[in-house]
């Protein structure tokens, strides 16, 4: 920790500090364009098609008939300005096109020109514009400066969700042959291999066996991480980053210990070895559906009774909100449990039943806060009450940690900030954007660091964890100041060593 614990300084940091407007500040921010192979693997044309203007308008027209959200949101904005200071990328960059309404207007002005009377007859009056090369470039740049975190939608009087707009924008870009490399390459890997990392079955098996050895060396208890175990009760679907990235893997070890303590018969599937679903980032129902169907297939093949998801933000959105739609009905699973369940719901249920024992002092070197991952907070639920997605992870953390402090109220729960790397932006060429976009969250962390001496922040999203590990050093924190929620569970859980071996 570099920052001194000095309460007098805390008042000087304002996570919501308004930047000066800097038009064009981020117009040069562009992710790499997908290669023809990446495009083909998702079913899109390899490169920018000749009649791209015509095709883009045609696709927009199609989406307007398929998505009520798009139609209502493009029509309903009154430019009241409520959203203008709500986006972390705007707060971090000052670029006015990162104000949610201005980002929407990039699409809305073309919509008005082609699909509304006012825009056809009086384009100047209503700000309608043709789809020129400049507008297309703006689309590519600024629809990849939205992490689809939905913070703007909380504050919009009509609930306009810029995520829906940037998803539609990316869907159009994909269909005219200008996709984004990071997302489309990853989606291709899931379609062919089963996870974002391209980790095949053998590599996965040896990774899991390695983890089993590590755990046994560490605590002397033979905790297992079964793979493709037919007849298991629980299928765990977790982001593939959990298999080796830090601090993700410590979370995976935590899930395994919880399953072990509960005596659960569980398994990971090599066929559906990915919880994340990048099909959502690019607004592609078809790709999202195909990825989701792998989970259904794995559940059927392995004959499980329940599906539990690991710590992953957007994954939990697709799982909680969309999985039943995309790959349901799950009438072949045990009806006593919701489908799917979050690992935090699973663990919290066990805690309430008194089935887990903890030594909280094992986490006494940590003063903790919790980062509500954007998509968990604003696009999902946990438990049976609205807001359970905020309460359950905190309840777990308070069970396993003695020192817990929340960040300022206007930066957590439904008003939480994105980590700065969500929505398909977690790629190195966007590092400048990622650092700037993380600043509101990092400033909020600095305030609790100064007020309460908070040393660590826990999260339940693979993207958040990777992003924070990367950007934290820029804000005075060690890169290992970001932790998995189940890593803290793992630290504190008490497992019985086997009584009598052999």
């Amino acid at each position: 920790m570099y920052i001194k614990n000095d309460p007098s300084e805390a008042t000087q940091i304002d996570p919501l500090e308004m930047p000066a407007l800097c038009p064009g500040a981020m117009e040069g921010s562009n992710p790499w364009v997908a290669s023809p192979d990446h495009q083909a693997s998702c079913g899109f044309p390899g490169e920018l098609v000749d009649n791209w203007q015509e095709k883009a308008i045609e696709k927009m027209g199609e989406l307007l008939t398929k998505y009520r959200s798009l139609k209502v949101y493009l029509d309903s904005c009154v430019k009241c300005g409520a959203c203008t200071d709500k986006c972390h990328y705007f707060l971090g960059t000052g670029d006015p096109k990162n104000m949610p309404v201005a980002r929407q207007d990039l699409l809305r002005k073309v919509y008005r020109r082609h699909f509304t009377l006012a825009g056809k007859w009086f384009p100047k009056l209503v700000g309608a514009e043709d789809l020129t090369k400049e507008v297309l470039d703006d689309w590519y740049s600024y629809f990849h400066q939205c992490s689809q975190c939905r913070r703007c939608s909380v504050f919009c009087p009509y609930g306009i969700d810029t995520a829906e707009i940037s998803m539609a924008g990316r869907e159009i870009l994909d269909h005219i042959g200008k996709g984004q490399k990071y997302c489309n390459e990853i989606i291709g890997k899931v379609h062919t291999i089963g996870n974002n990392l391209g980790l095949n079955k053998n590599a996965l098996r040896s990774t899991l066996e390695g983890l089993e050895e590590d755990i046994e060396d560490d605590i002397g208890v033979p905790v297992k991480l079964p793979l493709d175990k037919k007849g298991a009760d629980i299928l765990l679907v977790t982001p593939s980053a959990d298999f080796f990235a830090e601090p993700h893997v410590d979370g995976l070890i935590g899930y395994a210990k919880v399953f072990h303590a509960a005596g659960a018969n569980w398994t990971i599937s090599s066929y559906a070895s990915e919880a994340a679903n990048f099909g959502m980032f690019i607004g592609s129902y078809e790709n999202m559906r195909e990825i989701s169907l792998r989970i259904r297939q794995a559940a059927l093949d392995l004959g499980v009774k329940r599906i539990v998801f690991g710590e992953c933000g957007h994954a939990w959105r697709v799982a909680y909100s969309f999985l039943n739609t995309l790959a349901g009905p799950f009438d072949f699973l045990d009806p006593r449990y919701p489908v799917p369940q979050h690992i935090c719901e699973y663990t919290w249920d066990l805690i309430q039943e008194g089935k887990l024992n903890f030594d909280k002092s094992k986490n006494d070197h940590i003063k903790l806060t919790f980062h509500d991952s954007c998509n968990v907070a604003r696009a999902t639920r946990m438990g049976d009450k609205p807001g359970g997605q905020f309460e359950i992870p905190r309840a777990i953390l308070r069970t396993v940690c003695n020192y817990y402090y929340d960040m300022p109220e206007d930066t957590i729960k439904e008003a939480t900030f994105c980590c700065g790397g969500g929505g398909g932006l977690l790629t190195d060429e966007l590092m400048d954007l990622r650092k700037k976009g993380s600043s509101p969250r990092m400033k909020a962390l600095q305030t609790v660091n100064q007020e309460h001496g908070v040393t660590h922040m826990a999260a339940i999203c693979a993207i958040c964890k990777t992003q924070f590990a990367k950007v934290m050093p820029n804000f005075g924190f060690e890169r290992d100041s970001i932790l998995s929620v189940h890593q803290l569970v793992s630290n504190a859980i008490i497992l019985e060593a086997p009584q009598d071996d052999e």
Binding site: L125, N324, P338
Partner: protein
């Protein structure tokens, strides 16, 4: 001649408003929402959703969370407009029900609140740099139109009274297809012209937000995706390829 022009204007404006707005609502209602996207935390029952929408429409709950200045100006304007509109019903019914007579003094006061709210909203378009950046000419014109309607109406109440009995006879006549003469009072004619323009642009402008708020999936969906399978017709067709 004047009477004929205004009679035609109001018949056209009414048809455009009703047909145009109904058509817009039909578009919103018939476009499927293929995925569950309520902004969470969201209600888990339909009653809860109705309550959420009520809070949104009656109190501008989300706007209140967002920005207190915009909320104050916007809420005051909308509520005052509602009272003013109710007060105006007296010109379309004969005899005037007692309830409407009771509203009368509040309606007169509300006109000040309405214009003040509009002035606040308009001022922000000039003063706040972020909102200046997102404002288009049509955003200013819409405020000018509403302001013009409000001010011309107040002129007739507080400065130069028009022959309101004749105006009422004109509108009651329109409703019965028996055209009565309209007073040739310039302020009245400005007021009525602006109202007709508002009715005509309503279905083709951002004023459709009045319907949009009820059709916004992030506000009107129930949080029950794990319990109830939600499937759009076009998405159901994709399932033909599914083996099991």
């Amino acid at each position: 001649m004047l009477t004929t022009i205004y009679a035609c204007l109001f018949y056209v404006a009414t048809v455009v408003l009703v047909v145009g707005f109904a058509n817009r609502i039909r578009q919103f209602a018939t476009t499927p929402a293929p995925l569950k996207i309520p902004t969470m935390p969201a209600p888990t029952t339909k009653t809860g959703v109705a309550f959420r929408l009520f809070r949104e429409v009656a109190f501008f709950e989300s706007l209140f969370k967002a920005n207190k200045w915009i909320w104050v100006f916007g809420w005051v304007f909308h509520m005052a407009l509602a009272v003013v509109l109710i007060r105006h019903l007296r010109y379309f019914v004969q005899p005037v029900p007692e309830v409407l007579a009771l509203v009368q003094p509040f309606g007169v006061l509300a006109s000040f609140a309405m214009v003040a709210g509009l002035a606040g909203l308009w001022g922000r378009r000039f003063v706040v740099e972020r909102i200046r950046y997102i404002s288009r000419p049509s955003d200013h014109l819409m405020l000018a139109l509403l302001m013009g309607i409000g001010l011309s109406g107040m002129m007739m109440k507080f400065v130069a009274h028009t022959d309101i009995v004749a105006v009422k006879a004109f509108f009651l006549g329109l409703m019965r297809f028996q055209i009565q003469p309209i007073p040739a009072d310039p302020i009245l004619l400005v007021h009525l012209t602006l109202v007709a323009v508002l009715m005509i642009v309503f279905p083709f402008s951002k004023l459709v937000h009045s319907a949009g708020v009820f059709f916004s999936p992030s506000r009107n969906q129930v949080d029950n995706s794990r319990e109830v399978r939600h499937l759009a017709p076009w998405a159901a067709k994709l399932e033909a390829d599914r083996a099991r």
